[in-house]
Every structure is written in structure tokens, then in C-alpha cells.
């Protein structure tokens, strides 16, 4: 059973890219394209989700993702409630379920969920009432599908719709990254020519090739002739876990500079899900340079999230209430 897709093949929940198909991804991108116009207008609202209640349920700190979800919901005219449950102690299963039941009792229509445990969004989606929709805003190391879709949206806008001719390199902490996992699935579903991951062995998960990527341990070889480079954020705590010796050595080997960038295609696009550690994973000259689309990614995040929310809700709207 696919939790995410209803019996007509339409989006019910948005939990992971894994388990979706190319057609759905394209539908999300096309819908986002139509909303991109809205976010650029002076009156930035459409009434699609008027009267709906959307809860941002964040068990893990977030600024960017939560804010863009909130903006996206508001531009769809929904009512938005932000709930942050960020006490560090592990949230017990029954507590999570209790939290959910309590919110459900307030007639919530959609949960946007972020949680530090992989599988949390799936768990919630399999326990909500049938009419409630769940969108994953990041679960553990598993999945961050709206981030991946806004990245695909950005790539499509910059490079055009034919992913087949693209080489894409994802550089950094693949092991711990839910963003990387979602990007890899999305790129492969969209038939990207080649997907590479670049990192030292300590930051590459076991059997990474089984995800459908080529593994590189050398940055220059990994970005050779690529069309898109996606840099991942390096968490500072990776130094303590003996995964890396120092930020300095990481920067020397895997940090992106203009000099290194010359090995990629001349029109290479540089992306980053943010927030950037300047001088660790990339130089400011790259982050702020002409190849960078990092701020566009943020803008696109709103349109993509509007698309996902409205698609997940659309089935319900067709039914009289």
C-alpha cells in the first residue's frame, strides 16, 4: 500500500520522493510554475485553501522551511498554526500520537511535520483521520521532499525541462542528509543523465550506489563537467563524531571555490539548501557569485510548497462536505 497516493494515483500525503512517480513530480513542478506567478504579483493570495486549517508541527528547530511553509499556506488563504515542540528529550510514541489526536480534535485539515526521527511523517500519516493530509517537512535522515522539489524546480527553470542531458553532483554529508536522499530520488525519477555524490567515505552511506549514484571521493573529479552542483550544509557536530578531522581540512578538500568551479561546465549552476557555512562548504565568492541560485531556491520554495499543499488538498475539495 502506498500511503502517499490515493486509488486514482493522486497525491494524498507528501512524505517522500521514494514511492512517487515521474508524472506526479512533473505535475508538482507544473503546478508550482503556475503559482510562481502569484508570488510575484502585488496581491499575492489565491483563495484555494480558504477556510482550511494547516498546522506547522515542528519537533525540530527550523526557520527557513517553517517560514516558507507558513507563507505558502497564507498565500493559499489557509489559516496557519505554528506549533514548536522542540524539547530535546525524545518524544515518546504515545506522546506524539496524543499530540496528534488533540490537534485533530481541533479539526485540522493538514499537518506539516518536521521530526528528528526517520519515519516520523509516515507514522503520523498512517495514524491521522482519513480526511487529514500530512506533508513531510523533514524526518531524521530520511526525507525532505519539498526541499528536493524546490531544487528540481530551480534546476528546471535554469536548465530547462530535459534532465536527461544533465550531470548533477551533490557534495557533502550524504550520510546524514535527508535533503540528499530526496534529491537523489527526484533526480533519478526525472531521468537525470548522471547523479554523483562527492564526500569522504565517512560521510557516504553504506551501498550508496544502490541509490542510483556514482560515488566520488575527490571533489575535482566529482564536479568534472557537471551542469549542477548541490552543496550540502556541513553540521559542526560532525567534527566531534570523528567523521572529519577539521573544518579546515574539509574546506581544503571539499570546499567549493571559484578556482575549483572551473572544472565544471562553464554554465554550471551552484545550489545549497541553506543555511550556508561560508568558508566551510563554500566560499562567499561562490555563494554570492554568478553561478549561484541559492536565493532563487528560497523563493521557489514558496511556490513549490503551495503546489504540494494544493495538490494534496484538491481531492478532498472535490467532495461536498
Amino acid at each position: 500500500m502506498n500511503l502517499q497516493i490515493d486509488e486514482h494515483g493522486r497525491l494524498r500525503h507528501f512524505l517522500s520522493i521514494d514511492g512517487l512517480n515521474r508524472q506526479l513530480l512533473t505535475e508538482i513542478l507544473d503546478t508550482a510554475e503556475s503559482f510562481a506567478g502569484v508570488t510575484e504579483q502585488t496581491v499575492k493570495k489565491v483563495p484555494l485553501l480558504r477556510g482550511k486549517t494547516i498546522v506547522n508541527l515542528f519537533f525540530e528547530a527550523s526557520t527557513r522551511t517553517r517560514t516558507t511553509f507558513e507563507l505558502a499556506a497564507k498565500r493559499l488563504s489557509a489559516d496557519v498554526l505554528n506549533i514548536n515542540i522542540t524539547q530535546s528529550s525524545a518524544i515518546k510514541g504515545e506522546t506524539l500520537l496524543d499530540t496528534l489526536r488533540n490537534l485533530e480534535a481541533m479539526h485540522v485539515d493538514m499537518f506539516i511535520v518536521r521530526h528528528s526521527d526517520s519515519g516520523a511523517a509516515h507514522f503520523i500519516a498512517s495514524h491521522v483521520a482519513p480526511h487529514v493530509r500530512v506533508i513531510n517537512a523533514g524526518d531524521g535522515r530520511h526525507s525532505h521532499p519539498t526541499q528536493a522539489m524546490l531544487d528540481m524546480f530551480t534546476i528546471r527553470r535554469v536548465k530547462g525541462p530535459d534532465f536527461g542531458r544533465l550531470r548533477v553532483a551533490i557534495v557533502g554529508d550524504i550520510l546524514h542528509s535527508r535533503v540528499a536522499r530526496s534529491q537523489i530520488h527526484a533526480l533519478n525519477l526525472l531521468n537525470t543523465g548522471e547523479v554523483r555524490v562527492v564526500a569522504p567515505a565517512t560521510l557516504i552511506p553504506a551501498h550508496a550506489e544502490s541509490l542510483g549514484v556514482h560515488v566520488y571521493h575527490d571533489l575535482l573529479a566529482g564536479i568534472e563537467d557537471v551542469d549542477v552542483i548541490i552543496m550540502l550544509r556541513l553540521q559542526r557536530e560532525r567534527m566531534q563524531g570523528a567523521l572529519l578531522p577539521s573544518e579546515h581540512e574539509y574546506y581544503e578538500l571539499f570546499g567549493l571555490t571559484n578556482r575549483k568551479l572551473a572544472h565544471a561546465q562553464p554554465d554550471v549552476t551552484v545550489m545549497h539548501p541553506g543555511p550556508i557555512n561560508r568558508g566551510v562548504e563554500m566560499d562567499s565568492e561562490v555563494a554570492d557569485g554568478s553561478h549561484s541560485v541559492i536565493l532563487e531556491q528560497v523563493t521557489h520554495g514558496i511556490a513549490v510548497r503551495m503546489a504540494v499543499m494544493s495538490l494534496a488538498m484538491s481531492r478532498k475539495q472535490e467532495k461536498p462536505e
Binding site: 521514494d18 525524545a90 518524544i91 515518546k92 510514541g93 504515545e94 506524539l96 500520537l97 521530526h115 526521527d117 526517520s118 519515519g119 516520523a120 509516515h122 507514522f123 495514524h127 524526518d139 531524521g140 535522515r141 530520511h142 526525507s143 535527508r178 536522499r181 552511506p205 553504506a206 551501498h207 550508496a208 544502490s210 541509490l211
Partner: protein, 434 residues
């Protein structure tokens, strides 16, 4: 460790196929029981007048099963299960002896806790419960427990359960001390530092699902270290439910070299693999983790060869809430008493190994590991007997399950092989009602 018996009865079990792997018997025979013991199999002893005749036609009559690893949850976690509830589940599953690891609350690190469990088991009177004492005080991994006292109180071995030891030096000392008192050390082959808080096998599925992995090396590195220390100290050691083919090979090699080591496998690892955790199925959250399909095959092969001389349930009953949560936040373990026999029998159906060999790994095999005389139908042995219909099918559901814990990924499976009667010390403690 006597079980309070009613008036000792003379029982004849007639018409069944008697399989006593320890005695090399596999024949259509009758079994005769008096005063709680087997008095004969085959021809009727002179002047034997049964008070009770049990018809075992169409059934297999074998020694009561011995289960090496059963969390009974009492004392300390009675909301999950109790000695009474799990004794009933054991009896209805043909299990007459079960071994309780020391990680109860309080920990079995004093004779008092051992006594408590034994007294409650005897009061319930449905199965024998033997205990492993803690290897270190409070299982904290740094101070030796009073092993001599634990042995005197009846503990059949010592173990640190799933808890890590502070250093290999502590393990060495603990092994030396256990050897002094002829205690078997039961080891969970897990290098705590390599496991690093993971919850699934570090492999393709973990990578896809972003679940923190436990590398195979967490097991093999621990086995290598433990074998070196067994060699050094001369202690008798048992590896509790290995999960990887490589670890099983290492133990086979050590056995070939003459080291006093044994190992078992738990039923779920013979049927499931990492693939079963796809979709975040928390019922398949096990520690140690389910590994690859190749490992599952390797474990079956090691079982056939006898490297793994026992099959256990690794029974871990839970309340429903324990499995309701995001995968890493749920409690590991499967409730397995109800399914030990039928799932094991499936291995004979699949011709992994012949039925008598399979039954050996459920009876005499584990009894030998525990240093117990049981697990046989030899004349003079305590009359712990399991009578089951090997062809009878039934469906595992929450009503057919006797354990308090309904947490099992095998829910809804059709099981083949059903216990009809269980005798404990010559007393009928279970009969299938229908």
C-alpha cells in the same frame, strides 16, 4: 527446581510418532510416565496401569521445548507481560523450560530476584523458568556481580544481556571469575561503540530509509574479541542469537579449533531480513538487527551444520504503545513464544534440516547449553513432553496468541503445526481445547 505436582499420575501416551533426538529415537511408540518421570518408551513396563491415556495418534511426541531467551517482563515491567501470562503462552507452545535473561527490573544480580522469579514460576506451575545472573552489578558493566551467590541461588549462567561492558578488561575479568565457578557466560556479540545507537542493519535499506545503521562489524568485531578472551580465560561461552553469516563462520572455526563455545539463532532471523523494515514496519525493529537475505541464508546453513545448536524465540512481549511511534523511537523485539514451534517446523517443511535434527535444536541442544539434564525422553528423565500435530494449520491472530505481547510481524500468517498437549514433570499443563 521441582514443580508442585498433584498426585503423581501414571500416564501412557499412545499412538504417536516419538522423536527423541537425544536418544536417537524416531519411531511409532508409546511413552510411559510415572511419578513425574519417563519410565519407558516402546514396550509396556511390567504391571503398568495408566491412570490417564493420552491419544497421540497423528501427532509427534517429543521432549518439551527449551527456549534460551525469554523476556518474561516480571519483575518490573508487568504492563508488558507477567510470569503467569507468559507461562501460559509457553505451555501452549510446548515450551517446558525457558531461560530468563538478567535484564529484569530490578536486575537479576542478587539471589533475591532469582528466588522471586522461581517462586512465582512455581506458583504458576505451567513451565520451568531458569535464570541467567547478571555478569556485572546492575548490568552497569563495571563491577563484577556476586556470581558464586547467583550460582548457588540457581542461575544457570551469567550474562550482561544487551548492556555494554566498560572495557574488554572487565570482560576478561568477568570471564575468569565465571570460569572459577564453572558458569557459562552468555554473550550478546555487539560492539557498543560500533553500533553507535543504530536501529537497523547498516546496508541498502538503511541507506534508502535514512535509518541509523548498525554495521555487521559491530557483531563480528565483538565475536573476534570475545573468542580471543575465551581462548585466554578458558571460560565456557555461548553467543546469543547471532545475526550474520560471518559471525556464524567465526564461531564454527572456533568450535573446530576446540574452543568451548556454542551459539544459537532466534526464529525471526531465519525468516526476515532488512527488507522487512521497508515502510518503517516497527514490528520488524529488532536488536540485534535483521541483516541481509544472504545472512538469513547463512544462518540457516549454520543451523543445519550444527554451528548454531539451538533455536530460541528471543521472546520480547510489548504493550501496543511500545511499537507506536517513528521507527527509531519504538522498542525493539518480537513476541515469539506462540510461534517458536510452528515457525521452526517450517524449516523441516522447507527441508533446511530433518525433523529430528530440528527438534534437537529446540530440546536437547538448548538444554545442553544451559547445562540442564532435560530435553530428552530417556528413561528416568523428568517427564517434560510436547505432543503436537505437525499437519494442523492455524492462523496467528490476537485471539490465538496467548502471550500478553501481540507484537509480531507474523500476525495473520498461517502456521503449520500445533501443540495438542504439554506435560510438565508428568503433569498435563496444557491441552488444546476444541
Amino acid at each position: 527446581m521441582s514443580v508442585a505436582a498433584d498426585k503423581p499420575a501414571r500416564i501412557r501416551i499412545s499412538g504417536g510418532r516419538v522423536i527423541d533426538p537425544a536418544g536417537g529415537i524416531d519411531a511409532g511408540q508409546d511413552v510411559f510416565i510415572a511419578a513425574g518421570r519417563i519410565v519407558a518408551t516402546g514396550s509396556v513396563p511390567d504391571g503398568f496401569n495408566p491412570d490417564l491415556d493420552i491419544d497421540a495418534s497423528g501427532c509427534i511426541v517429543c521432549p518439551g521445548l527449551v527456549d534460551l531467551s525469554v523476556r518474561i517482563r516480571e519483575p518490573g515491567k508487568e504492563h508488558k507481560a507477567t510470569i503467569a501470562s507468559e507461562s501460559l503462552a509457553a505451555a501452549s507452545g510446548g515450551i517446558t523450560t525457558l531461560c530468563c535473561p538478567p535484564d529484569t527490573y530490578p536486575v537479576i544480580d542478587t539471589p533475591a530476584v532469582t528466588e522471586l522469579i522461581r517462586m512465582r514460576a512455581e506458583t504458576t506451575g505451567l513451565t520451568r523458568i531458569v535464570t541467567l545472573g547478571a555478569l556485572t552489578r546492575g548490568l552497569a558493566g563495571d563491577q563484577l556481580s556476586e556470581m558464586a551467590a547467583l550460582r548457588k541461588a540457581g542461575c544457570v549462567g551469567v550474562s550482561n544481556a544487551l548492556q555494554p561492558l566498560a572495557s574488554p578488561l572487565i570482560l576478561r575479568r568477568a570471564m575468569e571469575y565465571a570460569a572459577t565457578f564453572d558458569l557459562t557466560v552468555f554473550l550478546h556479540a555487539d560492539d557498543h561503540w560500533l553500533s553507535n545507537g543504530g536501529c537497523v542493519h547498516e546496508g541498502r535499506v538503511a541507506t534508502r530509509m535514512g535509518l541509523p545503521g548498525i554495521p555487521e562489524a559491530a557483531e563480528t568485531a565483538a565475536v573476534a574479541r570475545d573468542l580471543a578472551l575465551v581462548q585466554q580465560t578458558g571460560v565456557r561461552a555461548h553467543f546469543c542469537h547471532l545475526t550474520s553469516e560471518r559471525a556464524a563462520r567465526m564461531v564454527a572455526r572456533a568450535q573446530y579449533d576446540g574452543l568451548p563455545v556454542s551459539a544459537d539463532v532466534a526464529v525471526p532471523y531465519l525468516y526476515l531480513s532488512e527488507i522487512d523494515i521497508s515502510d518503517f514496519n516497527t514490528q520488524c525493529h529488532l536488536i540485534p538487527p535483521l541483516r541481509t537475505v544472504e545472512d538469513r541464508q547463512g544462518l540457516r546453513e549454520a543451523l543445519r551444520r550444527g554451528t548454531l545448536s539451538a533455536i530460541c524465540s528471543d521472546h520480547q512481549p510489548h504493550e501496543p504503545d511500545a511499537k507506536l511511534g517513528p521507527f527509531p523511537a519504538t522498542e525493539p523485539g518480537i513476541s515469539g513464544l506462540d510461534t517458536l514451534l510452528p515457525l521452526a517446523l517450517q524449516l523441516a517443511h522447507e527441508q533446511v534440516l530433518p525433523l529430528p535434527d530440528l527438534l534437537h535444536r529446540l530440546t536437547r541442544g538448548p538444554a545442553e547449553i544451559l547445562g540442564l539434564p532435560g530435553g530428552t525422553l530417556a528413561s528416568g528423565a523428568t517427564a517434560d513432553v510436547c505432543i503436537f500435530d505437525p499437519e494442523r494449520t492455524w492462523v496467528l491472530d490476537s485471539t490465538s496468541m496467548r502471550s500478553s505481547g501481540k507484537n509480531t510481524p507474523f500476525m495473520g500468517w498461517e502456521m503449520k503445526g500445533r501443540v495438542i498437549h504439554t506435560l510438565l514433570g508428568g503433569r498435563l499443563v496444557y491441552s488444546l481445547a476444541d
